[in-house]
């Protein structure tokens, strides 16, 4: 283990500031002096740390000194062979992972409940998705992890696939049996890529689900800015011993900015140090807060705050104990309705609401008194708004019907049709529903009646639908002549 007390990027920035270097380079705001309004808003220290690559500060595109050291420290802290600082979010980490193993026509095995960035990667590289339908929990109305048997079948039926992609965990905190999936995939010569956007703390907390690196995955994208505490958009891509790190860096360089932000990089460096030194203690506190909130919420009645009690050994192989997911349907209110009431009437913003659940994100920044507010607000919403739950839509998992690769469909000649006229046609764009950011339609998939009804329902319930060219989602692009 390297000396995790070090923070090379931070140290270099501190030295740079002390040297009082006169900047005749970008950025043009010159330590904030050239943009007093922005400096007044963000603060002088922030502007002074917004600097350009230079010899003493290294260069993200070609790290040879302090960024390299910081990346090596990060790799060591996460038990990885290599780590890469990412400044365009875990989206870029996920896309770089996929782009590094899949080319045009290559198959990749993946669960349907992947983040939109994965679909984007498929459009970019031309890979063929082989979806493993995640099982669903009908009571909770959520997509789960991949059943091991389903992964085995997908691998055996697609022995030429290049990689298996795993959410570790899902947005809801659900983990698949990642260790066994790795064994299966590796036996067939496939790489295993993990989306650990919600898994930073698995590497530092005690009694957490298995992390991708510990399970033997080849690569993982890690949203340090979520449970890791770094700035929004900063992320890590980490890789194991069987990955050619230099090639991976080349792939990252295809889409990554050449003006890597030192605000983001220093936040990664400082956060990594904090996690390495104090992570166990931090996530013990977070777990405690989440467990307290669950206990209190479950005493209110009708709400169901779940955690490891739903673990089933397969599709819910493990559950992230820091997640606070609350099933709301027994109050007669959809999750998205509770989400809206919390924000509009109680000034409480939770992470998301879907048909049946809300998810409150608990982190080291939370205070007991804020948890009390959330619990009391839920109690009040039930007292004031509880109603008969008949008429609430039940969650249904919609199996995609893949008719073309995402790349083929996305770049094909298209027709923009009113959405109600698209039934049976092949979609040429993505339709995502936020939350939770799982594709309803990806390019190349057939538009079914069920899908159209779901889109209509989510529109009415106030879900945010994104992806299509037409922002109002009144019209959809379909493949011409299909």
């Amino acid at each position: 283990m390297r000396d995790q007390n070090r923070a090379p990027v931070l140290e270099a920035l501190t030295n740079h500031k002390a040297a009082r270097v006169v900047p005749f380079d970008v950025p043009g705001h010159k330590q904030g002096r050239g943009n007093t309004e922005l400096t007044a808003f963000l603060g002088r220290a922030c502007m002074e740390a917004d600097v350009n690559s230079s010899k003493p500060l290294d260069n993200l595109c070609h790290p040879i000194s302090v960024i390299r050291e910081a990346e090596e420290l990060a790799a060591s802290a996460f038990g990885a062979r290599n780590a890469f600082f990412m400044v365009n979010g875990t989206t870029s980490a996920v896309q770089s992972m996929i782009l590094s193993v899949c080319g045009k026509g290559d198959k990749i095995i993946l669960p349907r409940n992947v983040h939109r960035s994965v679909i984007g990667a498929l459009v970019l590289c031309g890979a063929v998705p082989v979806y493993v339908n995640p099982q669903t929990d009908l009571r909770l109305g959520i997509a789960l992890g991949m059943a091991l048997e389903d992964v085995r079948r997908a691998i055996e039926q697609n022995k030429d696939a290049k990689a298996v992609f795993v959410n570790n965990p899902t947005y809801y905190g659900i983990c698949s049996n990642i260790e066994e999936i790795v064994k299966l995939a590796h036996k067939h010569g496939m790489a295993v890529l993990a989306d650990e956007a919600h898994g930073t703390h698995f590497y530092f907390g005690e009694d957490m689900p298995k992390s991708a690196m510990a399970a033997g995955c080849d690569m993982a994208g890690i949203s340090m800015h979520k449970s890791g505490g770094s700035l929004t958009q900063s992320s890590l891509l980490i890789s194991g011993p069987n990955v050619n790190a230099n090639y991976l860096r080349q792939v990252i360089g295809l889409t990554q900015t050449t003006s890597g932000s030192y605000l983001l990089m220093s936040s990664l460096d400082i956060s990594r140090r904090n996690l390495a030194l104090r992570g166990a203690e931090i996530f013990k506190t977070v777990r405690g807060l989440a467990q307290y909130a669950r206990d209190e919420i479950n005493q209110i009645g009708d709400y169901y705050a779940y955690a490891r009690d739903i673990v089933n050994g397969d599709t819910i192989f493990d559950f992230d104990p820091t997640k606070l997911s609350v099933h709301t349907l027994d109050t007669g209110l959809a999750g998205i309705e509770v989400y809206d009431i919390l924000r509009d009437e109680y000034d409480i913003q939770v992470e998301f609401g879907d048909i049946a659940n809300i998810l409150a994100y608990i982190s080291v920044g939370d205070r007991e008194r804020d948890i009390e507010r959330l619990v009391s607000a839920l109690s009040e919403i039930r007292r004031r708004k509880k109603r008969d739950k008949s008429g609430l839509m039940r969650f249904e998992y919609i199996s995609p019907v893949v008719k073309a690769t995402p790349q083929e469909a996305f770049y094909s000649p298209k027709r923009l049709l009113p959405i109600e006229q698209t039934e049976g046609l092949i979609c040429a764009e993505s339709v995502m529903c936020y939350p939770p950011g799982i594709p309803i339609l990806a390019p190349g998939e057939q538009i079914t009646r069920q899908i159209l009804e779901y889109i209509d329902y989510m529109k009415k319930k106030g879900g945010s639908l994104t992806g299509p060219e037409d922002l109002t989602i009144e019209r959809l692009n379909v493949m011409k002549g299909r």
Binding site: E296, I300, E345, D347, R373, S376, S379
Partner: protein, 290 residues
């Protein structure tokens, strides 16, 4: 030698009190607690550097928090105080023989023990057998109560800090649930003078009018609180604070108050125009929502 305690009331205005000596200073799990001896105001309690009470003028606050609802409610027997660990509100309530239960939900046990030791004039009622202290977050405590109290008195710190949860819609809604069918809620309501505080007054009132059919503000003059002009909230399911006050009944309690009297009761609900203006539209909007 000159020792001065200063509390900033705004960024540019502060109250300075010459201090004789500091008697106590510690950081509890929730806040910093200080006790000073001063020449002009006697003993002073501050939490996180914010003045909570002085021996000289605490009677104003505590009398107005208690006698106003007790003069309106015809048979208040079960009372809940949220906050109020100094004991001043309890002391005033203990003067009513008709009260049978006083529950106190105070988050910080150290405030209670410090006040018992250094502010006996204020904390003297805490030993009364009708008083039961729950060391718990007020919001958590009230969540579990239903149809339990005649009067709830919210004797809290400012809305910025540990007491923040006691100024929320979820808290006022929970108080409504915790009160009996004809219950009354009284809360400290900040000052209406400084713009930032006036905004808080408005927000607090907005949240309360959404929870209670009757909700009025009243005022008192408290020298050591910001601007010296302090507001209180009177919220109620049935009783109107002025129309339903029974002055004869209150006089029969035989309580010798120094600030409160039955004439002042009615007058306290007459607000300056600028204060009415702060709350007028949120009141109208709130009433239309009920």
């Amino acid at each position: 030698m000159q020792l001065v305690f200063t509390e900033k009331h705004t960024r540019h205005v502060g109250l300075c009190i010459e201090v004789d000596r500091q008697l106590y200073c510690s950081r509890s799990r929730f806040q910093r607690i200080d006790i000073f001896d001063s020449h002009e105001f006697g003993r002073i309690l501050t939490l996180d550097g914010v003045l909570m009470l002085t021996e000289k003028d605490e009677f104003i606050y505590h009398e107005m928090m208690t006698h106003v609802p007790l003069a309106v409610h015809p048979r208040a027997k079960d009372i809940l105080i949220i906050g109020g660990g100094d004991g001043g509100t309890v002391r005033e309530l203990c003067r009513y023989d008709s009260i049978r239960r006083i529950d106190l939900a105070e988050i910080d046990e150290e405030v209670v023990s410090v006040c018992k030791e250094y502010l006996p004039q204020v904390a003297c009622g805490l030993g009364d057998k009708r008083v039961k202290i729950y060391y718990e977050d007020g919001l958590r405590f009230i969540r579990r109560c239903s149809d339990a109290y005649d009067v709830i008195i919210v004797d809290s710190t400012d809305p910025f800090g540990p007491g923040e949860g006691l100024f929320t819609k979820e808290f006022y809604g929970s108080c409504f649930k915790a009160l009996k069918n004809d219950g009354i809620l009284v809360n400290q309501h900040e000052n209406p003078f400084y713009p930032e505080d006036a905004l808080a007054v408005r927000r607090i009132h907005q949240r309360i009018v959404q929870s209670f059919p009757i909700s009025r503000l009243y005022q008192a003059h408290i020298p050591t609180y910001p601007s010296g002009h302090w507001l209180f909230g009177f919220s109620s399911k049935v009783y109107h604070p002025v129309r339903d006050v029974d002055t004869d009944r209150w006089k029969q309690y035989g309580i010798a108050a120094r600030y409160y009297n039955t004439n002042l009761h009615r007058a306290a609900f007459a607000l300056p125009t600028y204060v009415e203006d702060i709350i007028k539209d949120v009141e109208d909007a709130g009433i239309s929502r009920l």
